[in-house]
């Protein structure tokens, strides 16, 4: 049981990294990764919303939509729940924890349209079944957030180096950033099979 949870957690961070292996959340990955502190702030906010929205959408799907035969409404319901949750979190943080709001607040509105969040909530539904329950779903969401953080932080470091590099004119800006992202994601390919081997599940 514990082994399974650890495997799900590590897989979500390394082998199934949402940004570098699944191509989810590319916009914030490319857009907000230039400075380390904004990269960390954004990732923290994403992790928070991922766990929270999985905690809400999973029960809604399992105990409301499926028994009522409305599972085809998944897309509409999930995006509205995420949009509502983000708004709610923003209001609550602003009122009760202003310090946290000041550090995460500016990133919250960006998250509604972050496909990684909607992606996580839908993928855990897809995976759910025998031996993959609510606990696994939450751990997966948390791991996905940490994986996002890892990718963002690593990439912020790489982009720092690009600042001072001499780059051909046509490649300046986005193209060279994408080539750098290609190399970072290449390094993540090295993790393939790591989790199963480490925990003796393979």
């Amino acid at each position: 049981m514990i082994k399974g949870l650890v495997a799900v957690f590590l897989a979500a961070i390394l082998t199934e990294n949402y940004v570098l292996a699944k191509f989810l959340g590319i916009c914030p990955f490319l857009g907000v990764s230039k400075k380390l502190n904004t990269a960390v702030g954004m990732s923290a906010a994403v992790t928070f919303v991922m766990v929270l929205s999985t905690a809400v959408t999973y029960p809604i799907y399992m105990y409301l939509l499926v028994p009522a035969g409305l599972d085809y409404l998944q897309t509409i319901v999930f995006i509205l729940v995420i949009a509502g949750l983000v708004q709610l979190v923003e209001i609550v943080l602003k009122k009760y924890i202003p310090a946290l709001y000041n550090s995460l607040g500016i990133y919250l509105p960006l998250i509604t349209t972050n496909c990684a969040v909607l992606g996580v909530t839908m993928l855990v539904i897809e995976k759910s079944g025998e031996g993959y329950g609510f606990g696994h779903a939450l751990i997966n969401a948390f791991g996905a957030g940490i994986g996002f953080l890892l990718a963002m932080v690593m990439f912020a470091g790489v982009r720092g180096r690009l600042e001072t590099a001499d780059i051909p004119k046509s490649l300046k800006g986005l193209p060279i950033t994408l080539v750098a992202a290609s190399l970072v994601s290449l390094s993540f390919l090295g993790f393939a099979g790591l989790v199963d081997n480490m925990l003796g599940l393979g």
């Binding site: 949009a83 986005l174 290449l186």
Partner: protein, 225 residues
């Protein structure tokens, strides 16, 4: 004259304001589903249908939707069309549904669609909005097809499943790093052909929720919204 104007709405999305290569919107599906040319076409068509439908409805309701709740309203409209397309694809093209997987429902959060609703459909009548959706959809499909063709050809030596160059088998192009690399090279090419104007064409940025923090644009480039 009117006819010419309509044609312009369609053609601008294909080259001058290509959503993928010059506005750099919708990067996630562009990278994820372009491992084969047929996947690219499937994704492009699905997004085009959603774009035309949501642009039409948003435009028809543009005077009814209050300004404050417009984004949630647009998202609901878009999600409705995505659900319809999802059901159609599941029923008639299950193979496409299988290979697009999660990226079919994720059309909901594709910035191209929300971007066009916000930038164009909310300010223009129904017919031009639908044509704008059609043009942007064709542009999106064309860019995806280009990427899908390059990756499939280099990675598997095939095109639409037909064997073209059996000797080519550079698997890395089918993996995530290849996706990033090919996309980077295509944007560099578009930059070169446009004379470096790409990043300054920030029309898509006005609608992007990340414009305040985004650093994709170079330091000298201003957001002209």
């Amino acid at each position: 004259m009117a006819c010419k104007g309509y044609l312009k709405e369609v053609t601008k999305g294909i080259i001058k304001e290509n959503p993928v290569l010059t506005l750099v919107l919708g990067t996630c599906p562009t990278l994820a589903v372009t491992t084969t040319a047929s996947n690219a076409i499937g994704m492009g068509l699905a997004a085009t249908i959603v774009l035309i439908g949501s642009n039409a409805v948003v435009s028809a309701l543009r005077n009814v939707i209050p300004d404050k709740v417009r984004i949630p309203a647009y998202i609901t409209i878009i999600a409705t069309f995505v659900t319809i397309v999802q059901m159609i694809v599941k029923a008639f093209a299950p193979a496409i549904d299988e290979s697009l997987g999660i990226f079919l429902p994720l059309i909901v959060v594709n910035c191209i669609i929300l971007g066009r609703a916000e930038m164009f459909a909310s300010k223009n009548p129904v017919v031009p909005s639908m044509l704008d959706g059609l043009g942007m959809g064709i542009g999106f499909t064309a860019a995806l097809l280009l990427m899908g063709s390059i990756r499939e050809l280099l990675g598997a030596g095939t095109w639409f499943g037909m064997e073209i160059i059996p000797a080519l088998n550079i698997v890395i192009f089918l993996l995530p790093p290849g996706g990033f690399f090919v996309f980077g090279m295509l944007i560099a090419l578009a930059n070169k052909l446009n004379g470096g104007k790409t990043a300054k064409n920030a029309g898509g940025c006005a609608a992007c929720p990340m414009k305040g923090n985004c650093t994709v644009l170079g330091k000298g480039d201003k957001l002209d919204d």
